[in-house]
């Protein structure tokens, strides 16, 4: 195993990788932008290297500076996590050429899966079903002709894309030109590649993906599925394993897992990866969507049900170790659900909310996991994704996991920005969700007119507000004995108080 790892990322996933490294005895170096100088990841890493200004184009996307930082700090490997350079084959190649280990698949595999049209051709050849589609070479007229052939509704997608960027549903031929233009613009910005393609759109769709792990010795396993159908703006907000759809359909699960392995094998895949499928809930047909050649945001639900630490396995595989288990050793036990807590306003089209986090208190309870990169005093800024935390509950059954997750959401204190916590609680309570009838349109269908709860102000809130103002005012009547419980605090006011002590 290597001794020192550079983490080419930020936020909660950088923190999560640091924690994995601590268990393995690996030292960590994080790179950071000026906006993240005081971040939790920088605090927890063994060393931290400033690589630029807040815009990602001047820091987290600067491959040259990241590799230089790895060299200077004596790292042997680079973990890209997700987003930023994680699916950039050129970066993986540069890391390799600098004599460092890239914690991920080969540049060739990234490349092959990165261009959606090439990926589709490859997996189709490997016998994996794909959606009827048009690969998007040509002029507007070509797209229009192809769209008519595919039939509406259809999806416009970025050829180099991922994470929903540049993606649009088109239900009417008249909307096609505007959709193509907007998608091309977004794709160009996000991926520096504005090529598009078209695809059949399934109305009652479930998004189900299969996690795979492959070592450098020819061993490959799957770690079962995750269902990620609960999405808003085409981005996942609730993910779970097992899929409620597959619980009663073990043969379909097996077929999908085998298809995922074939897809990964078709590009000689190594390390952790995820094969995404769309499942037609009416017919049970499944189609390959794309392969994410990296760790996923939602990897914790797989970790909860399989007991496999995916990040530690990524590091072991990158270091050349063989997989420590075979397929038959793996299991999928209990039920895990993750929800992503965002600084956003679900009643205002999920607009991100920026601001200072005045108070953050994560919940603590058995079998609750909180992955977060921020704490009280940090800010949600315009520069990065406004995710505050991932909250994961694990229990024996799905209903218990839902209750556990809801209790943890209720206890999560985040002050200073609008969050989607009340929204997530309402989604967990929604009858279709509770029955496991989760399709990708559930949010837009059932929550289009959602409004946050607006409870009347209880007297206890006024009492708390008045007390805190009174304490802050430092009224002389408050000069009781100094806080017995906190006798030393360099930042406590001299007239610290404690009554009833």
């Amino acid at each position: 195993m290597f001794e020192r790892l550079l983490i080419a990322n930020r936020g909660e996933i950088a923190v999560r990788i640091i924690r994995a490294c601590r268990e393995l005895g690996i030292q960590t170096v994080v790179v950071y932008s000026e906006a993240d100088a005081d971040s939790l990841a920088v605090q927890l890493a063994d060393r931290a290297v400033l690589i630029g200004s807040p815009p990602p184009s001047d820091s987290y996307l600067r491959a040259d500076r990241i590799i230089e930082a790895a060299r200077q700090t004596g790292c042997q490997a680079v973990h890209p996590a997700f987003g930023f350079l994680s699916e950039n084959a050129a970066f993986a190649q540069m890391v390799r050429e600098a004599g460092l280990i890239f914690v991920g698949p080969s540049p060739e595999a990234i490349q092959a899966m990165g261009l959606k049209t090439e990926a589709l051709a490859r997996v189709r050849a490997a016998g994996v079903p794909t959606l009827p589609s048009y690969d998007g070479q040509g002029l507007l007229e070509d797209f229009q002709r192809a769209a008519d052939a595919l039939g509406y509704p259809l999806l416009v997608k970025a050829a180099a894309g991922g994470g929903g960027k540049g993606m649009r549903v088109v239900r009417d031929p008249a909307e096609l030109p505007a959709a193509l233009e907007a998608s091309a613009r977004e794709a160009g910005k996000a991926f520096a590649d504005n090529r598009l393609f078209l695809e059949r759109y399934i109305e009652a769709a479930r998004h189900i993906e299969v996690q795979i792990l492959a070592d450098q010795h020819g061993n490959m396993v799957h770690l079962f599925e995750r269902e990620c159908s609960i999405q808003r703006r085409h981005q996942k907000i609730i993910e779970e394993s097992p899929s409620p759809y597959l619980i009663e359909r073990p043969q379909l699960r097996e077929a999908m897992c085998q298809a995922a392995l074939r897809a990964a094998q078709s590009v000689g895949y190594t390390n952790a990866g995820t094969v995404e499928f769309i499942v037609d809930a009416h017919t049970g047909e499944f189609f390959f969507l794309e392969m994410n050649t990296r760790l996923q945001v939602e990897h914790p639900v797989t970790e909860a049900v399989t007991d496999v630490d995916l990040v530690q396995l990524q590091l072991r595989i990158a270091a050349g170790e063989p997989l420590p288990f075979r397929q038959a050793d793996l299991y999928q036990r209990g039920h895990a659900i993750e929800c992503r807590i965002y600084a956003e306003d679900p009643s205002e089209h999920f607009l991100p909310s920026t601001g200072d986090l005045l108070c953050v208190v994560p919940p603590s309870a058995p079998h609750i996991r909180v992955d977060s990169g921020v704490r009280t005093g940090d800010a949600i800024t315009i520069h990065y994704d406004p995710m505050i935390a991932k909250l994961i509950a694990h229990a024996r059954t799905r209903p218990e996991a839902i209750r556990r997750l809801d209790a943890a959401l209720a206890a999560y204190v985040i002050l200073g920005v609008t969050t989607n916590i009340p929204f997530l609680r309402d989604v967990l309570a929604q009858p279709d969700f509770q029955r496991g009838e989760t399709t990708t349109t559930l949010i837009e269908r059932a929550f289009a007119a959602w409004q946050p709860p607006n409870p009347p102000l209880p007297d206890s809130a006024l009492i708390a507000a008045a007390l805190s103002q009174l304490l802050q005012s430092g009224a002389p009547a408050l000069n009781a004995a100094p806080a017995e419980s906190d006798p030393f605090s360099p930042w406590a006011r001299p007239d610290a108080f404690r009554v009833g002590a």
């Binding site: 920026t354 108070c359 315009i382 008045a466 007390l467």
Partner: protein
């Protein structure tokens, strides 16, 4: 001491004073005897009869953000003043819903627009945000330009009702 808070257009007056080891808090006709249990790191714990309640409090400018159980409240500390809604009829300014950069301005001054029509494209957090017309109207004045970084609530244009 007396404190005044505004919440959801209502004004509240709360009197709080020390009473031995406790605090006496009066809200209107109701009087509470409150014992402070703990106050540290944004957390305020107090005893009210046989209940011990936990509040988390943060302050941004003149706003108190308060969490109590699973509920959150924003209380304004500002001197009470009747909030004026945008003048009826006439024109009203349309503001940015968040901090971001203006990517495109899709209308011109004087143009007549329909309800729901996109007027300005903003980009924030790598997402495109579309500012649309809240009603049919005429663009009276443009207050932003492409490339400009705008703050939340900054006016982007003035829109007159037809």
């Amino acid at each position: 001491m007396e404190f005044r808070f505004e919440h959801a257009q209502s004004l509240y007056s709360v009197k709080a004073e020390r009473d031995g080891e406790s605090f006496r808090v009066r809200i209107g006709e109701r009087v509470y005897l409150v014992e402070l249990v703990r106050a540290a790191g944004g957390e305020l714990v107090f005893r009210l009869g046989d209940q011990v309640l936990t509040a988390h409090i943060g302050r941004a400018g003149e706003t108190l953000h308060l969490a109590l159980g699973a509920q959150q409240f924003k209380l304004s500390l500002a001197k009470p003043s009747v909030r004026r809604k945008s003048a009826e009829g006439g024109s009203a300014s349309l503001s940015a819903s968040m901090h971001g950069q203006v990517v495109r301005v899709l209308v011109e001054e004087g143009e007549v627009v329909r309800r729901g029509q996109p007027l300005v494209l903003l980009e924030a957090m790598k997402m495109e945000i579309r500012v649309t017309a809240p009603h049919d109207g005429r663009v009276v004045r443009l207050l932003c330009s492409v490339g400009e970084v705008v703050q939340r609530a900054q006016p982007l244009l003035e829109l007159a009702e037809l």
